[in-house]
Amino acid sequence: MKITITREIAVSLSFLLFGAGVFYSIYSIEVVEGVNALYTQVMIVPNFVTAVLFDWRGFDTLGECLILITSVLVTGMVFGKGLFNWDFLREVYREEDGKDVDLGFTPIIKVLAVPMAVLLMVLGVVVILGGHITPGGGFQGGALISAAYVLAMVAFGRGRCPVRFTHRFLESLESFGALLFLILGLIGMILSGYYLFNIREIYGIPLFPSPPGIGDVGIIPYLNIGVGLKVLAGLSTITTLLVSHRIVSKNIGRG
């Protein structure tokens, strides 16, 4: 499709206008405190961001997780999962599974990759668990763990990768994380009538025992764990799908 010079001028003019509009409106922002005053006064957990994300607006966080879940589902579908018609993919993936290509990484990378991956995983777990006290939380920790997976995958290739997250394992983790979030919300609904109610204790037993002085954390750590597992599984699934032919072959019924 050929684009004439007139059209290019029109496009640049309109982007100029739109950009000027966006810039003008952002430049003249005067932030009104509004309901934020409440968010910073009421202490739920020491990390105010987590308090807003998981307590005041927990349902939004659930929605954000579901965006990731849906994206992973759709990405899986591009590689043949559950399609009504596979013939197109069969033609694309006609040739046999390619061999791993050794990109000539030096031994330093291969020696360092495993310890770094292990430490990254552990750090990711700690970041997930400390989400209600320190900066971090489920999204960040999950991303750390899946970064460890990607690191191992890049250094060793798919065949000899020491971190073996199988597709089925990742699917289970993802479903478990999302179900944990949804079901904790339902439990809150049964106990109090409000969905995603932050239950502090059941019959006097605190739900998540934590030291005094950091507020009643309630279900927030569990929600963090759910989100973390889901993010870990989602990002790793996408990596697995992108590097591996075998999943496609299995999905289109040849594996």
């Binding site: 009104v32 927990g58 349902f59 939004d60 954000e64 399609l83 995603l196 932050n198």
Partner: protein
């Protein structure tokens, strides 16, 4: 106990379960059971507000603020959700007759149903954005499911533009948050009405309109939507077009609630009316030129979306009611037409010139599709007539008779291409062996049942429109702008 969140939560929960067991043998059975559950859902909620997490209204410096996320249910939303769930149920039932059905399809349909009902129910702008994004990804996913190269292409294109439009909408939500200090739509509307307008608010309005045009399929995004509808299986297009119609209605109501009383609303109204008239005319003109039956129906969807948007953009009580009523009617008869197109595609081909003489092969289906077509044109005993009449009244009373003329002209165009399609597919003479070929294809009872149910609803709503209108009118008065 108010079980309102279950309308959203149960489909989400089941979507995750279905995506986990997508290869199971019992998927067909489970899908049918799930369809039954979906029918119960709209009855669960009670009218009134529902605060998530127990965070209710707080007073900061004398101003009431909703501190958490608020959902409300009222008769209008209930009607919309009932229609949505009904069409979802019928699509799920039809899907069990498909070869190679997997849990993924059910999961995606459920995810879409949940997110669109959340968009309808929510009173919170960020929550609306989140579920709007899920709905956009779900629509692309449902198109990818068709498993053809062109489907991949159009879904990719839709997501590509969707990234841009979604980010613009998110930026708009952020600007509104900074300008008002709240995310609750009612709180924001009240704050905006009190304080003088700043450029930030104009920017936010601009971005909300971009989000609306993308979500609802108004120009210039209509070509993307048409690609989506025409490249997937037609019965999937039935649920896709329902999603985008209802997102259109919900976002229109949000814009009315936020900017309704402001001095800028006059301009906004002009922009929205212009967009909807463009949609009406472009859809009709393009539909007249199509050879592919699915594309024709897709462009028809765009032009009817223009009617819906026109009614809502007027901002008068009658206009809002007429727009929403037309949205519901449109969802019903258009789903019937898409299911009919699915049958036609199954028997022979979606290209109108290759088919012909289907009347002799299946008279019942032909009659039902004819009824749906008449409803879509706006012939009296059907529901399309009632809502178009109401729309014309609303436009007349808003002092824009020219638009009524335009609506009539567009209706004539609609009549023409619908009848052209009907002639080419069902009436055009065909050879004896072609007829034998048609008779070999078995059409499932489920297809005919869904088609019949939708046509029956069209007739019932056409004869007794008050069933729905009585529920919409009080809310139309409430939202409307003087």
């Amino acid at each position: 106990m108010n079980l309102l969140p279950l309308i959203v939560v149960i489909p989400l929960l089941m979507a995750i379960v279905f995506s986990y067991i997508y290869r199971s043998k019992y998927i067909r059975l489970l899908t049918l059971l799930m369809a039954l559950v979906l029918l119960v859902l709209p009855l669960l909620g009670l009218y009134g507000p529902y605060f998530f997490g127990g965070h209710g209204v707080v007073y900061i410096e004398g101003m009431p603020f909703v501190s958490g996320i608020l959902y409300t249910l009222n008769p209008l939303k209930e009607t919309l959700i009932f229609t949505l769930m009904l069409i979802g149920v019928l699509v799920l039932i039809i899907s069990t007759r498909e070869e190679r059905l997997s849990g993924t399809f059910t999961a995606l349909v459920l995810m879409g149903l949940a997110s669109v009902s959340a968009v309808i129910l929510t009173e919170d702008l960020f929550n609306l954005y989140v579920f709007y994004e899920i709905a956009a990804i779900t629509q692309a996913g449902l198109v990818i499911l068709a498993g053809r190269e062109e489907a991949y292409r159009s879904a990719f294109r839709y997501l590509l533009v969707g990234t841009m439009a979604g980010s613009i909408l998110l930026l708009g939500v952020g600007l509104l948050l900074s300008a008002t200090g709240s995310l609750n739509i009612v709180d924001m509307g009240r704050y905006l009405a009190l304080k003088p307008l700043t450029p930030t608010v104009y920017g936010a309005l601009l971005m909300l309109i971009v989000g609306l045009a993308y979500g609802g399929g108004l120009p210039p995004f209509h070509t993307l939507k048409v690609d989506l509808y025409s490249r997937t299986k037609p019965f999937v297009a039935a649920i896709l077009q329902t999603y985008s119609k209802f997102i259109l209605i919900a976002l229109m109501l949000v814009i009315l609630k936020l900017f309704g009383g402001l001095p800028i609303f006059n301009t906004t109204r002009g922009v929205l009316i212009a967009l909807s008239v463009f949609a009406m005319v472009f859809g009709t003109v393009m539909a007249l030129l199509q050879d592919d039956y699915r594309r024709l129906l897709a462009y028809h969807t765009v032009s009817q979306g223009g009617y819906v948007a026109l009614g809502l953009a007027l901002g008068t009580p009658l206009g809002i009611v007429a727009g929403i009523f037309h949205g519901i009617n449109h969802a019903l008869y258009k789903s019937a037409l898409f299911i009919g197109a699915h049958i036609v595609e199954k028997i022979k081909s979606p290209y109108m010139r290759e088919v012909g003489g289907l009347l002799l092969a299946m008279p019942t289906v032909t009659f039902l599709i004819l009824c749906a077509k008449l409803a879509s044109i706006g012939i009296p005993p059907f529901n399309g007539f009632q809502s178009k009449l109401l729309l014309a009244e609303a436009v007349m009373s808003a002092d824009m008779p020219e638009l009524v003329i335009l609506m009539l002209i567009v209706s004539i165009g609609t009549f023409l291409y619908m009848m052209k399609a009907f002639y080419l597919i069902f009436l055009k003479p065909c050879s004896e062996e072609q007829l034998r070929e048609y008779r070999e294809v078995r059409i499932s009872k489920y297809h005919i049942f869904s088609l019949g149910l939708l046509v029956l609803l069209c007739i019932v709503l056409g004869l007794y429109p008050d069933m729905v209108l009585d529920r919409l009118l009080p809310l139309g008065e409430e939202i409307a702008i003087e």
